[in-house]
Subunit: 464 residues, 4 copies
């Protein structure tokens, strides 16, 4: 029944089952793995033991090789073989091929567990910053839309039924503010992630005086995780926190998508999608379908499901590393990709949305003004409950009112005539600036760690 093929020392079926998609997924982690290895090597060269674990020159040569590997990866030329299993062994093998014994020395004082932990955190840093920037761009696109149509009346709904006079400005900036809240969650996830796990080794530390603070600093983390066991078992947990935050972003996008799909049905006709964001049908010649938005709705379910899956996987795991955690990698990477792709596909769609003012205005039936009428009675001195019942008893008698006037009357903070677009835009801009600063800091660390050998390497290097 079983094939008896083996790859290296391992049964091929077992390898296929255990290695899973790592060979493919790990291609996203090559740069991070090189950074982690370079920082580890630089630190090993400073461990005060004799003979040294690595010399400063060894560390520089390693960094230069790693710089090359990261380059290969950026050009799509880095390969992980089935025998490699994952990025960590692939990188170690390449170093050993090139540098011999020096390559073999790199793995001292660490394990694959803490390599993958640091790789995931470095990867997550970059991607979270991309998500923040993309969310900021979308928020600003929505605010532009809101500001341009701030006085365009739009029936406000509750229970999907017409409720009260509102505006396109209120509608579009509500999603923008939702994204600004989501950005705060992304930043909280970023902070949690921004701790260096390296030095945990197999979760229990090593009997050598390694310098975990130095590694953390070299990699640009805010600080090291303290407890070595916690450093290891936070894996999966950090991923699920990040996915939860991304899931909240997708929740906002999904509801926005639901609204745009709804309000671009011909029965409403409020919005028309840019042609290039619709797709046709293989059987119905007339169709222009809002596939992108439908997929946003479905992909939101997926990111949320992945957040919950990752937490489930580790919920009953005992302390220390368990292989179960490997299965958190694919949903994590996919959740990150989906969210960023969704954040990036929507700005041109929303910027290109045609707003049909006439259709929006036509939707105002007299009933939409019922509450405003009751409140008028109230300002004349009638208790609200009585005004409510009087208006209810005479529904249908009132004539439709002027939506513009109704909107102009709502001047309080956050209401149709009380929206502060500038303040919201400033929040969006600050988020983007923060992300840009953090990204630069990260890239600076990367470029220092993955430095090619300078012509006279004895004068340069990390130690100088």
């Amino acid at each position: 029944m079983r094939r008896t093929t083996t790859v290296g020392e391992i049964d091929a079926d077992v390898l296929a089952y255990t290695a899973g998609q790592d060979r493919v997924l790990d291609l996203a982690l090559v740069e991070a793995d090189c950074m982690g290895t370079a920082a580890h090597a630089a630190m090993l060269a400073r461990v005060p033991v004799t003979p040294p674990l690595l010399t400063a020159d060894d560390a520089r040569r390693i960094a230069a090789e790693l710089a090359g590997l990261a380059d290969e990866a950026r050009q799509g030329r880095f390969k992980i073989t089935l025998a490699d299993q994952d990025v960590h062994l692939a990188v170690e093998r390449r170093l050993t091929d090139k540098l011999g014994d020096i390559g073999k020395r790199v793995h001292v004082c660490r394990s694959r567990n803490d390599q993958v932990a640091v790789d995931m955190r470095l990867f997550a840093k970059e991607r979270l910053l991309e998500a923040v920037s993309a969310a900021s761009v979308l928020a600003r696109t929505l605010l532009t839309l809101a500001r341009r149509h701030k006085k365009v009346p739009m029936v406000g709904r509750t229970h999907m039924q017409p409720a009260m006079p509102s505006s396109v400005g209120v509608w579009a900036s509500a999603w923008a503010e939702g994204l600004l809240d989501d950005i705060e969650l992304l930043k909280a996830a970023y902070d949690l992630n921004n701790q260096c796990p390296l030095g945990s080794a197999a979760s229990y530390g090593v009997p050598l005086p390694i310098d975990r603070q130095l590694v953390s600093d070299l990699l640009g983390f805010a600080k090291p995780v303290h407890n070595v066991l916690h450093a290891n078992q936070a894996r999966g947990k950090v991923e699920s926190v990040i996915l939860s935050a991304l899931g909240q972003v997708m929740l906002t996008l999904s509801r926005l998508a639901q609204d745009v799909i709804l309000f671009s049905m011909p029965e409403f006709g409020y919005f028309r999608l840019p042609q290039e964001f619709t797709t046709g049908s293989s059987i119905m010649p007339q169709k222009r379908n809002p596939d992108v938005l439908e997929l946003v709705r479905a992909k939101a379910a997926k990111v949320l499901a992945h957040a919950s899956l990752v937490a489930d996987i580790i919920r009953a795991a005992p302390s220390g590393y368990n292989r179960d955690v490997q299965e958190t990698k694919a949903p994590f990477l996919e959740g990150v990709d989906i969210t960023i792709a969704s954040l990036r596909i929507l700005p041109p769609l929303m910027a290109g949305l045609q707003v049909d003012r006439a259709a929006l205005r036509r939707a105002f039936s007299p009933d939409v003004f019922a509450t405003d009428r009751a409140l008028e009675l109230v300002t004349g001195g009638m208790p609200f409950r009585d005004a409510y019942h009087q208006v209810k008893a005479t529904l249908g008698e009132g004539a439709a009112q002027d939506p513009d006037r109704a909107l102009a009357a709502k001047t309080h903070l956050g209401a149709p005539a009380g929206l502060d677009f500038a303040a919201l835009a400033t929040r969006a801009k600050h988020a983007d600036s923060w992300a840009t600063r953090e990204r630069r800091r990260h890239e600076k660390c990367r470029d220092r760690l993955l430095a090619p050998l300078a012509p006279r390497s004895h004068k340069s290097g990390l130690n100088s």
Copy 2:
């Protein structure tokens, strides 16, 4: 097939289906509802229209009545009838019974939707602060345990298999640091929640110059939600963010519970649970079962499921209020209760845990020291991969080593001999201080809002 009974104007079956458990659940919200109503009334009394929506004296009388209702609720005497449907109508009915027209005026410029939104946020504030404090207590309990047994050796495991020498100190403080991370997530959720939604009315604002900033200040929120539609549709979203953070706390507790269950099996015997935390069997006379810990494990699944349920409920909901969101209340309240109860049941259990040092020490087989032996060879100059293979080839030949010496050799940051318990304890203490400060601020707002009428009410009140 259907009963035709009605309650008020509504079909009884429909009411039973729609009101659901609100009458029971809402008992947890009475104080919050009274606070929200008092702040709204105080604000109404300041709206610059003539005749006034409420006089300052009306507002004071309302506040005094609300103070009485909140008192009733604290004593368990407040009732919500089936006809009331929920806490909001129950409070309004009581005010109207007592104050006549004044009571009827309170509901002007707001809807049940924004009442429930503000009630949930006020409730969440208090409960999140309780959760932070309880998490801080548990973290400190774990740190005490860790410090007391910091030199007690414990086999560190990976894949549930013996891996490397570790200590009870590492084990116990790892969970403590996990909780400290969780507290950061609770605080991020607290910040998101700490925005006042009132003034959204039915999601679209009102044509009267209400002062949303004032209401937010009176209730002690950091700021108002800006956009009125966002204020309303953030409901469900905020709850799912909070539940996700609580879910992370439960994830930490679940894994801790899993470990304690495992390591108190007789085959390990590392720990013995305090007698009062075990339960017997109806058929097996000898049993002392770790039911509390098993339930922590299962309840963690429940809180995580609730977080995901709440997000699912609103994922495809279009803009504006949808009744679907009502179904988020029960899982939210239950998730909050479970987490706080779990955080409170564990400190005495962990404080009473008996640690069997002999059993812990017995578990050290020679293999546990294999990595240490490889690293010894490395410090002698051998590349790590070669040392690894040499030790692997001679497994079983080495004698067991001294665990104490092995632990003492791991001195780097976060390792068995490099743990900084004081730093972790300080983080826990700061979290608790923060929660205490926020709680006092909240209670001060509450006491000012729900003030009984002073003997000479014309001189006192909110305006003074």
Copy 3:
């Protein structure tokens, strides 16, 4: 920090945490528990040991007492005290109070674990049969609606956009067929559940010749679970299978609800809900909201989440009973209740739905006929792809066609003019008949087991 109160021998906090809601939830299980105990007692009286474990007369007296307790429960008078913890101890206590030593003997050869297992299965049998009947009623209501409006045109949609001519008959009977599929899943879950777990004791059987087949027969199960350990650890699993099947029912209802909400928006106006199924707003006098349908949508999410929660709880549980499984009870009972309540609230709503034929007809724009036009060209000999492109190029040029003619032309199986309502109705009727037969069989077992003492009990009884 902790209260030191105890209830019986157990710490009050621990009891509150562990007993959870059992005292309340278990009230739904009293009859089932009495049946299980009566069957167990009847079997004990036949175990061929000397002295007998119970005499035939003991068993009859026990059955008579249990009949009384079940009666109390039906009248809402059965109480479970905090010290009882659950229904099993409550029933045993009552038996012991009344029958002294005889009561104490009942628990021999079983444990609470297999009591709760059999209680849940008996409860599930009854409730699943109710669900099948209720689903059948709703399916028939939908078929009646479909048949009445089989020729009423309705724009068929894909991507929520107008697609092709269809009918109310197609729309309404699609949901009916969905429910018929769901009923098959309910029956599969019923079959899985219909195995008697009793006799597992604490999961490992007992050293006495108990007759598990007899107990299974007395309780009306199809057969006993075979392996005693499996009998016990199927708990949770069976519940999650049932919840998954119920979840599929809710999925059908949710999508039906979504459609009715959508198509009764004024922009469509296809349907009008019966007044008694709508609710008003506390602020907007004009509102009649579809709350019931919105809640169906949300409650569907809850049942599906509960199905997944129950599976998660047991996923990582090792063999044998684990207390974790207790947490499956509340979501199971709630999932069952929600589904049956939802199935029962919808028939009067759907039967009372007003169908606005004019509005439905108005929605037919020329584009809806585009595919029909392409197919006309095809019947003239043109390849479909060419016809498709020709129609696409001339969109907007064609006049609107007659929807009636378009519907009449679709005569193939399952199309607007090819629906076999009678065949679908027969499937629904068969399902109901099956449920009725099973229910009678179950009630016959119950009535035989819970028989009051006959005037001359020595002549009657189970053994005769």
Copy 4:
């Protein structure tokens, strides 16, 4: 910010977002798509219209081409280009390339929506039959293990604590019976799936007299789905039902894996995994880790999460096709693959498990016999509750008893000495035979549909 590249007529970003992984995933569906197209063509050739939609000869030529494409796919040579988007357009393009106008005619009377629906159902049929066979193999492997060690004592546990005497036979056959239950669920899912959706076109049928019953028969389905709209919107639903059934299989495997991991820890030593099913550590030379079993545990969470995700995606979707449903394909395919792979990796692992009888026997402490002692007292006439308390009071006084005698005394149905392995094995065998019969029936349909052109085609073919 956006690339303006286009592929065909479609914006490249939009295509990347919408086509997703279809190009890769759809490679699994080529044969199914060819079968569906061949059956559709054969039916079109019989539609009684003039001129014919296809001639019989056209249909045969199409079938022959499709046979070639299916062959290519089996050899891994079939490619789906980005411009193709999916398997349906890829197959249609290839047919048009080869057969010109004939190829263009194939798509008449159907849409991509019902193509993908039938492809998924055909694919699911095959894979479910594989799952049933694989589950049957594993069940029989477990029964062989159980029978071989039926008298080997093993401490039965509850709450993970030692509870009562049991055997390896009970333990291993419990999982086997669990799998037999799971197989019933797979069969129920198979029955639901075994209905042909073709002929739904875009969900609303076509104005031509197509023969849906014929297509269903040609493809070997039990019957067509009746209502055309239901045929379309059952997509997603069927997938989630199948995933739920597969999830139950994984639940069984996960718990089995949890037990094997636990009981092969050195502290228990009951089992030793075959060497080839363990993996080493990159840092710890001594480690042999149970990675396969850990991954089974984690992958179970994934399949269950996918089941729930698929249901979530469609929960709030309105009637008719929605693009959201595309996102159900990847989790469905992955869930199927994971389950079958897990079912296949375990038989050699379980068959190779070494059972350490001495270690199992050593684990019997006197307490394990406490319940047996109480039951002895009961057979002497003491009420069970009194016996229970007497044994409890003298715990630790009794000597360990003979586990063999304890097992031999448990003779009732399903207990250690009352297991009917043959009956369980027969159930497993019947399931496999059923799957084999169904598979042959399916393959016969496939081979008839995808027939290469016979030398004298006028004598052969589907019509003869």
